[in-house]
């Protein structure tokens, strides 16, 4: 087994594109769930909104890339509004039902035959990120080395921009949550009736939180689609949403840096496990394949099994996350 290779992969995964995208989506979910207590089970839907927001406007409608980016935010906010209106006055579990249903419907709609002229159906949209790569200060095809890691200029550019946005978003959330607005959100999370009794319009605050978190989720989807230079409906399935949930709970909800920490831990764990299993000596692999059907395909399914088991065990035994404090944990209180 090539441990050097495995560790190299694992360490480079810790700051990779996936970590950045999922962390950003989790920053949004943190605003929803961590700070406001909203059970958004459709973050993948917001990511899809971001991805299609840029893909469709730039590729089909020939908008300039920057108008497309602006549209992503408008679209994310509108989606939050549409989901919030019927649900935010009701008990928490109704929002979860509607968001999971809406996210799945967005995926179905985007991949459908009817929408094909707009969304490209199952093949999706591409060729919309050219402007982004044109302004790259790095040579797209050249390798840049940092110690043991090497990045293609194209990926490096995405990473630099993505991490900058992620850090800015995190700092923004930090400041927001220290403001009176953020304190109100937390008050709503802790006791909605008390917040209402103090004259706060709970519905509007929840709606604003849903929009802010949704915008950040849409930005994550937008960056992901730019990195892949394509948008595909099936990338935004419900498992993605719950991977983000797992990441948030690993890091600890309602903590500013938890999305980044959680995402980094999650992805390095997944990459480590998958690469180790793939690198097993042939004999061990064969006997594992016979005993527990550990085929190549099943190794790639393991990450979802780990997400499921991890989410269940975390919610049960450590809802405050690995680093979180029980005092700041909404999940446990209701």
């Amino acid at each position: 087994m090539d441990w050097g290779f495995i560790f190299e992969r694992t360490f480079s995964a810790m700051i990779g594109v996936e970590v950045m995208v999922y962390a950003l989506a989790a920053v949004g979910l943190n605003v929803h769930f961590g700070y406001t207590g909203l059970m958004n089970f459709g973050q993948a839907g917001f990511m899809a909104a971001g991805a299609y927001g840029i893909g469709v406007t730039v590729y089909w409608m020939q908008w300039s890339f920057w108008w497309g980016v602006l549209f992503v935010f408008v679209y994310g906010a509108v989606l939050a509004l549409l989901l919030g209106i019927p649900t935010l006055r009701l008990r928490a579990d109704y929002l979860s039902l509607v968001t999971i249903a809406a996210a799945e419907s967005i995926r179905l709609l985007a991949r459908s035959r009817v929408m094909r002229p707009i969304t490209g159906g199952v093949e999706g949209v591409n060729k919309f990120a050219v402007t982004f790569y044109d302004i790259s200060p790095f040579e797209l095809g050249k390798f840049y080395g940092f110690g043991p890691f090497k990045y293609l200029g194209r990926d490096l550019w995405v990473l630099v921009v993505g991490w900058t946005i992620l850090i800015l978003a995190t700092l923004m959330v930090q400041q927001l949550m220290r403001s009176p607005w953020g304190r109100t959100l937390r008050a709503i999370r802790e006791d909605e009736d008390a917040a209402r009794a103090l004259g706060k319009n709970v519905y509007y605050y929840k709606m604003q939180a849903l929009m802010v978190g949704g915008l950040i989720g849409a930005a994550a989807g937008c960056i992901q689609s730019i990195q892949k230079s394509s948008v595909q409906a099936d990338t935004f399935n419900s498992v993605i949403t719950f991977t983000i949930w797992t990441i948030l709970i690993i890091g600890g909800p309602a903590r500013v840096w938890s999305p980044i920490v959680g995402s980094s831990i999650y992805w390095s764990l997944i990459v480590f496990v998958e690469n180790t299993l793939r690198q097993l000596p042939a004999g061990t692999r064969d006997s594992l394949e016979r005993a527990i059907e550990l085929s190549d395909f099943n190794i790639s399914m393991l990450r979802y099994i780990l997400v499921g088991a991890g989410l269940m065990l975390l919610a049960r035994f450590r809802p405050q996350g690995i680093f979180g404090s029980r005092e700041e944990m909404a999940l446990d209180r209701r």
Partner: protein
């Protein structure tokens, strides 16, 4: 493509559009049609073999328009619906996509029919009722679990899938399929059993799964004082865990039971229904009526409804609440298994339940979360609404109707049709 896409793409080493051309002659015998040419523009073509089979390999998932060359049909054989000579095959990552060209002896009969004809609406209503009945069996369990414990069980869809998989398993392998040592024992230990017995075993397996989930996971959580929202997140984790354990052990392939495959539809008053579906619908009605009577007249059923209404009142009047909850989970599991078995008539696959989760949620919300009869009413309405929606929207999008029903219900009557106002708090 990375992540989930890569994983999915690995299934697709060998994709194609497949099918088998056949028709029934005057005596009701199957006749395979040989030598018919089928083409996907720009991809390839295939000519049917002696068994009427064809296969056109494609390079990846996507939508392909496949055309049957009518000129190559033998004389005296025609497309049942002359407008359906070109159909769209939506090839997914998982498997060959089967397309069906309906052929008949003689001339094409179905002339293009007005969208809103009484016959079409009748047919859609019938299919809606069928969907609604199957859904209802899944929805009642979900609603009762919510009623008795306050928990929205997102893993309920996997209990539906479990039913289909278990029926398939007993019907095609028997227990020996999992435990090789049982070879030589009589069925169901050592071999497959017929579909009806397999369904019963599957319902038992569903009840066992329900019991275990409650006993091992959710009862211990309740005892430990884990909050309802945390438990809800646990059901999500459980749902993903089960779903991918299914794909791990069952594979991504689509399969079907060894009996009751595609049947020829019977026609009553212009409405088409296969005998299989008619029987399944009748069984569903009987089961639902029995459930209804059980809930209203038997001691256990009344206890279930009492706990749903008010846990504290029920407990103080001497009902063993934990026992009732265990019964509800078993009962919900068995019903979900039966529902999954019926949904599996077309294809048995690992994500069968996940695809109808949206519909189940819409049904229980519309009927009123926590009310068992509401779930039944909601399921029927959702089933019919979804099928009617195909009058105006593409059938591919019909499940989205459930989302609209869900949102409309929340806007207009959030407590549901049969729900009580205080439930929505």
């Amino acid at each position: 493509m990375a992540g989930a896409q890569t994983a999915a793409a690995q299934i697709s080493d060998d994709l194609g559009v497949i099918g088998q051309l056949q028709y029934q002659d005057a005596n009701g015998n199957k006749v395979f049609v040989e030598g018919v040419e089928l083409t996907i523009d720009g991809v390839g073509s295939s000519t049917t073999d002696a068994e009427g089979k064809f296969r056109i390999p494609v390079s990846g998932p996507g939508e392909y328009e496949i055309t049957l060359n009518i000129e190559t049909l033998p004389s005296g054989v025609a497309l049942k619906d002359a407008t359906r000579g070109t159909i769209v095959a939506n090839v997914s990552e998982n498997n060959d996509q089967r397309v069906i060209f309906a052929l008949i002896e003689g001339d094409s009969t179905t002339v293009s029919e007005s969208n809103f004809s009484a016959r079409r609406i009748g047919q859609l209503t019938l299919e809606g009722i069928k969907l609604g009945l199957y859904l209802a069996m899944a929805a009642i369990g979900l609603s009762l679990i919510f009623g008795t414990t306050g928990l929205v069980n997102f893993a309920h869809a996997e209990m539906v899938t479990w039913g289909a998989l278990m029926t398939y398993f007993f019907n095609v392998y028997g227990l020996v399929g999992a435990i090789g040592l049982l070879a030589g024992f009589p069925a169901p230990l050592g071999g497959p059993v017929n579909f009806i017995l397999a369904t019963m075993l599957s319902m038992v397996a569903g009840a066992v799964l329900g019991y275990l989930l409650n006993r091992v996971i959710f009862r211990t959580s309740r005892d430990a004082g884990v909050s309802l929202l945390a438990q809800m997140v646990m059901t999500i984790g459980l749902s993903i865990l089960l779903r991918y354990l299914f794909v791990y052990f069952f594979g991504g392939k689509y399969r079907s039971y060894s009996e009751y495959g595609a049947q020829r539809a019977n026609v009553f008053f212009g409405l088409e229904l296969t005998t299989r579906d008619a029987v399944a619908m009748a069984i569903s009605v009987v089961v639902l009526v029995v459930v209804g009577f059980g809930l209203t007249t038997t001691r256990t059923g009344r206890a279930m409804r009492a706990v749903s209404d008010s846990r504290d009142l029920a407990e103080s009047s001497g009902i063993n609440v934990e026992r009732v909850i265990a019964q509800v989970w078993m009962f919900g599991g068995a019903l979900a298994a039966l529902s999954g078995t019926f949904f599996g008539f077309d294809t048995v696959k690992w994500e069968l339940g996940t695809r109808i989760l949206l519909l189940i949620f819409a049904a229980v919300t519309l009927g009123g979360l926590g009310t068992s009869f509401g779930a039944l009413v909601g399921a029927l309405i959702v089933g019919i609404a979804i099928n009617w929606s195909t009058l105006v929207i593409d059938p591919e999008l019909k499940n989205m109707t459930a989302l609209f029903v869900l949102i409309l219900a929340l806007l207009l009557r959030p407590q549901g049709i049969l729900g009580k106002k205080q439930r929505i708090g």
